[in-house]
Symmetry: C2
Subunit: 231 residues, 2 copies
């Protein structure tokens, strides 16, 4: 009986070829060791397989590894600039996915009341909420998902003119619980019968004087709100 945890696996795709974690590990080790041979033995993998894999990747992504046969030390390999750019891109994707998989979420349920392009309005227990959808229809029962990292907490006094910001969804509530971290706190806010979770830095907690029972205003962007069908 373990805890259920979410997991996001990153991959970069081009021309049907998928560059995944395993490939990134190989390229990194080549970068470090300077040869495919050393890299593959260090990783406990077959050198032949590594080479054919590199050619598969290069057929889609272009030159990644400059290989030289013969020469001082017998030869060697080094990554191209394209390859390091690709690795950097993969790293960003990986971190971003891991983050959204692990960040707390708040989930609302409701029915779709209007649709305009990629956006839809949903009637929920906290009022109508706007978010991005991917093929819902009028009247559908949907889940509304808001990541804790995209909720902004404001002092009620600073409640901004809704016409002057691009954050369209907003709502007032009271702090129900503050779950401490090292310097990042998860603040639970009760609003309209639902519990919202927002990630807030320690010094924001101090600046805003957040404490249980405090009244606050929540703001978040429609484009950070995702709608999914309810099964």
């Amino acid at each position: 009986m373990g805890e259920t945890s979410g997991l996001g696996r990153a991959a970069l795709v081009r021309d049907g070829v998928e560059l995944g974690e395993r490939d990134v590990g190989l390229l990194r080790e080549i970068d470090v060791t300077g040869s495919v041979a050393r890299a593959s033995t260090n990783l406990g993998r077959s050198r032949a397989r590594a080479l054919t894999r590199i050619e598969e990747l290069e057929s889609a992504f272009g030159d990644l590894v400059e290989r030289q046969r013969g020469g001082s030390g017998g030869g060697g390999s080094r990554l191209t600039d394209d390859a390091t750019r690709l690795l950097n891109r993969y790293e960003r994707l990986q971190v971003a996915l891991s983050a959204t998989a692990h960040v707390p979420e708040t989930v609302l349920e409701g029915t779709v009341s209007s649709i305009a392009g990629e956006l839809a309005d949903v009637e929920t227990s906290v009022g109508t909420v706007r978010g991005l959808h991917d093929g819902v229809s009028l009247g559908d029962l949907v889940q509304v998902r808001i990541g804790a990292d995209s909720l902004t907490v404001l002092e009620p006094a600073a409640d901004p003119d809704p016409d002057s910001t691009s954050a369209r969804n907003h709502l007032s509530g009271i702090v129900a619980e503050i779950e401490p971290g090292e310097t990042v706190f998860t603040v639970h806010i009760e609003a309209g019968g639902a519990i919202f979770r927002a990630l807030v830095t320690e010094d924001s907690v101090d600046r805003l004087g957040l404490a249980e029972g405090c009244g606050v205003v929540l703001t978040w962007k429609a484009t950070a709100t995702r709608l999914t069908h309810e099964v």
Copy 2:
């Protein structure tokens, strides 16, 4: 020569067992058809394999499928409430991951100038930016990633008192380009020599009167900013 695109694959993990897209497809089809037999033939899969897979999943996630052997129609199967909850959770994760994989990003480079717990300050071309890291050290060269869906755009006049909001990073710039969508626009904003990309709804573009050359203020949360090593 194709376009490189990012991809996020969702999975729920528990006790080492991974519930992925394939499993979700099976469970969904069982829910629809009412039997493992019909589900597996509909999906072109082996019924025997489907049953053993269900048992693997249940060994980690608990009862998912109530199977009845014999009876009217020969028997049948239906999902437990836990299973539908799991499917809903998977759907949210899947949509959230796909979203962060496809949303435009803005990337800054810089060096870490201070670290406090999960947070770190990075000196970049646009000034010092605060974000979440996962094991960086002082002086490290890092990438700063901000998803376009977590950037908030404000009118300069409405620039809020930084002490009244939990959005700590903020910056002024001018609109360089507006990339239209159906109802969601991608606004490119030049600030400090860098180009920021923000997702903004059509009516926010109207309300704020956004157009090329406009001065605006960008705001985003430190907890929506991710730092990764540069390779």
